[in-house]
């Protein structure tokens, strides 16, 4: 299993636990703040499920470059860092922006929004060329061989 997949899966598990802890907090009246609900759902659906899908597909889908390097896997790494930094910034910023007018929280939340969008675009750039039929793969291989 490549490093990028291992790191995606382990980060996904951390978000899985964090989301369920948030889910428990939502059931306790004294700490069930309204901004926790979107955090619960986003940590679960983006931090856990989407992150697991991304990590496993980068490993299992055809056309993986086996030599691991940032150059070979740049979109995957950009997706990983943008998604995780973006989501943690949201965890910090979303409850704060509800209780404070300070500019810093607004900037944090906007940065989080942009990073999460960058993450999914980078993931699509990594995986799109690897989603292809057998015929397309054979043709590409033949072209590559004739070029060699």
């Amino acid at each position: 299993m490549p490093l990028i997949t291992r790191i995606f899966l382990k980060s996904g598990i951390v978000f899985f636990i964090a989301s369920l802890v948030t889910g428990v907090a939502l059931q306790i009246d004294s700490i069930a703040l309204p901004p926790l609900l979107p955090l619960f759902w986003h940590m679960l659906m983006l931090g856990w499920i989407t992150q697991i899908i991304m990590g496993v597909s980068m490993w299992m889908f055809p056309g993986r470059v086996r030599e691991e390097s940032f150059k070979n896997q740049r979109w995957a790494w950009i997706a990983y860092f943008s998604l995780n930094i973006g989501l943690w910034l949201r965890v910090l910023g979303e409850p704060a922006v509800n209780s404070s007018d300070a500019l810093v929280w607004k900037v944090l939340l906007i940065t989080s929004a942009l990073l999460q969008l960058i993450a999914v675009i980078s993931y699509a750039l990594e995986i799109w060329p690897r989603v292809r039929g057998k015929k397309e793969r054979v043709t590409k291989k033949n072209i590559q061989r004739s070029e060699d």
Partner: protein, 136 residues
């Protein structure tokens, strides 16, 4: 990778980017109010990412990766698989239209029926493919 999976996976990536763009806009709207009206996009954001992205991606991958049928050595009826693809995506589009335009809210019911049909087709196509070779 079979054509049905290629279509489902590429469509799911398209829905992922569209849904995440709306999500980003909604989050920015939370930090700096652009318009209250943007909140009307929340159900579209959810539909795109739950059905369009997560469900479609997992169904498309399962169709490709689960073991083939033990006797015929294929993935079952290709016609039904294409119908599953069309049904799921027509359902998603109808639900989105019903969320976007009040005058089209009646489309939600046929949309959900089409999505259900797609999942029933998925179950029918994959039931016998969920098998262990050790038992044969």
């Amino acid at each position: 990778m079979p054509n049905v999976s290629v279509w489902m996976l590429r469509l799911s990536l398209f829905y992922l980017i569209t849904g995440a763009s709306i999500g980003s806009l909604l989050l920015i709207n939370k930090a700096v109010l652009i318009s209250y009206k943007l909140w009307a996009l929340l159900p579209v954001h959810i539909e795109l990412l739950i059905f369009g992205w997560i469900i479609q991606f997992t169904l498309g991958t399962a169709y490709w990766i689960l073991p083939r049928l033990l006797i015929s050595k294929d993935r079952g009826s290709e016609l039904l698989a294409n119908f599953m693809l069309l049904s799921l995506n027509a359902g998603i589009l109808l639900v989105i239209l019903s969320e976007l335009f009040y005058s089209l809210s009646a489309l939600a019911l046929p949309g959900r029926i089409l999505e259900t049909l797609a999942v029933i087709l998925f179950a029918g196509l994959h039931w016998k493919r969920i098998a262990s070779y050790a038992n044969h």
